[in-house]
Symmetry: D2
């Protein structure tokens, strides 16, 4: 169970870390400051400067071969293991736009995996190639307003067969990336047979984002932020018609696709969250050493040593757990790795939230202001406690796996 | 130690609760949706509709005699005790604009207390009367960018005597309410003698907000929000000249004024936070009973019973502690109440943050969206862990008071 | 809602505190050191010196009128309110044998309440009078080995009608006080009709402890201690025959008696636990000020200020919550007080366990040794998380009461 | 960084697990039940049956080659890595007497390491050989009653040079294993030069346990238990005379020896604690599945799924952290591993205490009784939060190591 940094990935980590720190981080604040300044007044359009920043960085990354690392266990690209990739994801988590610079950002990586793993050739040609190239973006269209996502079998958005087509109707919300004008692909989960057994009711479709009949109702806000121009959109589908060939894997196999998609993505999210916790601890230490009160560096005041020590211990444990989940994925496959993914999915966002919270507290009001990245990190990792399954569902998975050791009956 | 609801305050609580729920809450979302839509493009101007909402509600409240409750232990108004007021503050905490509707909002109440308690007659005429009337707003100008607020003796913003005047220079930030165009008064803490003993270095000044030489550099953001039009402004004073008679209480007595000001204000903040926790628990329960997953109301799933029970228990304990701090203030004065104020200052925001967090979690993504008030509540109570002294400073006060019981030596 | 110390109870608190500190505490260690030294080798016999200590102290207490305070809301004795008594219970909690010295110890107080409230005259003459006088002790015989106590309707110990008698058969365990040779009364819950509705299956009986057919199988150990000579005995009843007139209140009304009995007792346990937490905090502070490491009192090292502050805050909150539960009992009766009793039943032992744990940690190994009372306090408060209902059951009660506010349906 | 189970150690783990479960566990309760039944009345003598049990099991273990695994990185025996040994220690932690059966118990392993690493040949012949053979036991004599162990430089027990001898005077307490009549060796830390620099004041001596002048004052109790016949003794040295050649490594090098000794021992303690947590989780699950209340297995009630899931997650994280500390020791040496050892020294006992606590709670009163091993496990892991350095000291080490990354100055 080698959870360490391999010789193969070590130089990549260094190159990525260097680029994140020295080239991406300095532009990150500028990128965000540009949001909402497009001459049209449309927050969901990139300004010229934003595109210049993004495209410039992406070009550099691609030129250096720092691109598409997430393609694990593959003939294309580096063929890294999930463990190896995890170390890279951690570095990319430290700055918000970094993951996209290396074409390793959610939800595109998950969507590319769907195409890579389950897509037909024509689908790959049409969407996977430009996605791998960084030319378009994509969205994963699953969550519905009136349904507890924890019980996905309830999803009711309808796809009705009509001749050689399917006709889609219903609302979807929290569709991340659907605000981005570069978004070219929607992968949509729809109910094709409400009377089928629970996990055979749904089907996964692929379609162009500009298919007629899709309307953006509004941008959902995350703690007051619309995350423009990426966005988390509330979409309405009205008689959206697509050919039956746009089905992925087969009718009624939507759950199968969704499960396969979520494993690696959850690990990536977690490793990026760990990267944010590392960043927060670094900020806590440098502030603690440089700021003084009562004639001492504040690191030496009150419980700050304990706070720093606890942060370090919790980060290490979460990282090791995440690496073990990655190793399970590499060595035993997604299905066997599921309880491990559930574990880290609960732990990493909780841990990161706690460490970032302490880092904010040590910075005083500055820590929650626009002068630091901590506030955004904090609200972002909070969203991870819902995204891809709320904590309660993952804890339930872990408990069931545990109890199953003692009984063959379905607990 | 009567911590209960008195006969005198009971009808006031009912009237306030009723108005908050039925008249203010329905307009609150509309008020916030108007932010940033002023034709001038200036986010720090109220729209006509915003003023209409505010002024309309304020007129109703005043007409019903629901006004200036915070004037505790006073001949004017109700002369409520702090315990009695605490119950009202709790109700007002449930909706963001409610406190202002009853002229009971921070920082105005604290500023009015300064004038009421320490101000000269001309100061009262000029600023207290219109403040009590709700005609102007005010700001308290204390925090500085480069100084740990926990060690306030370090505050370096300078007021230099020059003939009959003082000349003020320096930066202040997080000046809440200084964005509001109705803000007419600044109460400013400045260093008049850096070589004096630690708690005699600073002096409190009052001045018109539009005194020449004061510049708004920018609006500080709180988790990405500028809280316009109220605002938390970064101000720069450049040779701001004010007459010596604008000193409150006397040169070198700034700390004395600051201490007297903060006691009640901290309790009010805490009771409003408890009101928010109550609101969050209510939302948790109603959602838990109405939303279903796996064929059951989600209240019955997983650990939700425990989560609800813990929330209820922690709210009750925090409320009782807050009421006891209020009772100490009423019966033994601010100084004796200080360790009790420190206790609740630590507990209430932590507790409220936890309860609101659980309420968000139970709502899924909706809980952090613009469709609920939970997200704003959560980031708001988080700021209370810095405002008026960070947790660490208050814990230190509590510990020192405890150890002092066992030693006369200065611990 | 007066939760304070009344003028009536203030001198009693002082007298009790003084006697606990200066007369009982110095003999407590000696009492415990005598355990197991009876010449017969029988750990469940008091040595002469133990009886001398106990009887001597009891005589003094009685002489001073410090006796039977627990008789709240009664014509006999002081007629204290539960709130008033709570302050006394706190003082008595600080030393293990103190409660008995004032004839206020569990399970006798609960048993006396049963007799006082539900007993017939002959029962009072036979058992209540000597109990009130401190001449005999008693035990409450409810818990069974094979049944989850949280679901008391499952209790299966059998009482079968046979003519004018009932014949009892079955095992009971954790019968506290049944080891004490002075124990004269058993109050026994037995199933008289397994087919009756859930809460009418059981009946409460009173009987002499030496009724033939009752066998002590063994002493249950609490973290390795048998708590001799008090003891928590495992009893076996074999054809134990008692007259039908020994039924309390009526056949099938066992639950009613049990509920009435448990309310005040739980509050008393909680207040004593709070007394132990206060004692632990005192020990923490005096040790923190007197012991040095690295040239400083250890109170000033690491996170100790925060630990002390947290202990103080949590004690205050638990005490206020407990007083409110007591006040509910006084003002609205046991039934209305139930959710409040559940709240404090969860909170007080958890809080006390935490504070005592920190106090032990600050003392190093000495804290867990026979040289301090902390170790015994810690294991004792741990047992309170099961006794009279496990935390989970009380949390469930609190949650149900909360949800009931929003629905009339039986949640 | 291979943290997995190697092919070499896998069969050993299986053999040890099998022997622990099937041969040692069934005799463990009997061994403990014999304590205090020696005909002489001396609790610190083994009964014949106790010796029969221990010697019988040890003979079997030795015969099967399951012996002295702890000799890591050595030519003798298996030469396991610390990572490999950690997996074995986990298994041995599950039953109290198991570690001794395989000659892998504290404090003997640490003492043997001292002799192996720093001892002269004659010392090895005299004490190491019989220790390796399991013929004698040993004690490590360091802790003093009046000194904060966290600041070991304060240790004042005196060794005064007198000709070719040293004369030792003073008290030592918590000397584990000194109660065992088989104890043949004391390794004693004494102050030889109170005026020397802080870490050169002390010297380590070896001596026979029956050296004249050593008196056992009493057995220290751990939560009321004397852990006879092993014991944690309070010793008094009065003019104990030993030759100067009994010094280990050199005068003034006591700290060096102590540091070298403690690294591996702490990891072993932690892995055994993790084994206890695993055992507790197993008991929690089997009870949760077999016990019913309200018509359901209690595992399905309340928050039990979450409790089980949290236990599983925390065990996994602690194990991984412990394995990483072991790997650091193997790959980079004790000194580089120190901050990692401090981390796991804080985490493992806390985690195990929490998991065992939950397991007890799920069992109700049975969980804290003599019918289960949980109560003893719980108090035992609690002692680990002091043993070999209290949590606060280890947290301080972790924080200092963290801050050192940002400054070369001695933090």
């Amino acid at each position: 169970m080698d959870l360490g940094i391999t010789d193969r990935v070590r130089p990549l980590i260094e190159a990525v870390r260097d680029m994140v720190e020295n080239e991406i981080a300095p532009l990150d604040a500028e990128f965000h400051a540009e949001v909402g300044t497009h001459p049209s007044g449309d927050r969901f359009k990139h300004t010229d400067r934003q595109l210049e920043i993004l495209d410039g960085l992406k070009a550099k990354a691609k030129e250096r071969g720092l691109w598409n690392f997430w393609l694990t266990d593959s003939d294309r690209g580096y063929g890294l293991s999930t463990v190896e990739y995890a170390y890279l994801a951690e570095e990319m988590g430290k700055v918000t736009i970094a993951a996209e610079v290396f074409n390793c950002n959610a939800p595109d990586t998950g969507n590319m995996e769907v195409l890579e793993r389950y897509g037909e050739e024509w689908m790959k040609d049409r969407w996977l190639v430009p996605l791998l190239n960084g030319d378009i973006r994509s969205a994963y269209v699953m969550t519905e307003p009136d349904v507890a996502s924890s019980d996905a079998a309830q999803l009711a958005f309808e796809a009705r067969r009509d001749g050689d087509d399917y006709v889609l109707n219903g609302d979807k919300w929290w569709i991340s990336g659907a605000g981005d004008p570069r978004c070219g692909l929607y992968i949509v989960m729809a109910c094709t047979d409400p009377d089928a057994p629970k996990h055979q009711r749904h089907t996964m479709f692929v379609m162009d984002a500009d298919t007629p009949g899709i309307e953006v109702l509004r941008a959902m806000q995350v703690f007051g932020a619309d995350d423009a121009p990426h966005g988390h959109m509330h979409l309405r589908f009205t008689n959206v018609r697509i050919p039956a060939k746009n089905i992925v894997l087969g009718e009624g196999r939507g759950f199968e696709v969704a499960q396969g998609r979520l494993g690696p993505g959850r690990i990536h999210h977690c490793m990026r969250a760990i990267g944010q916790a590392e960043k927060a601890l670094e900020l806590m230490c440098t502030r603690g050493l440089s700021r003084e009160a009562f004639g001492k560096p504040i690191a030496e005041l009150g419980a700050n040593y304990d706070i720093i020590a606890n942060a370090r211990m919790e980060i290490e444990m979460a990282r090791l757990l995440c690496l073990k989940a990655a190793w399970m994925m590499d060595s035993a496959g997604v299905r066997a790795a599921q309880p491990w993914i559930s574990k880290i999915k609960v732990i990493a966002p909780l841990m990161a939230g706690k460490v970032i919270d302490e880092a904010m507290q040590l910075h005083g009001a500055k820590g929650i202001s626009q002068d630091m990245t901590l506030a955004h990190m904090w609200t972002h990792v909070r969203t991870l406690r819902f995204a891809d399954g709320p904590d309660a569902v993952h804890r339930r998975q872990v408990a069931r796996a545990e109890l199953r050791k003692y009984t063959q009956a379905n607990v």
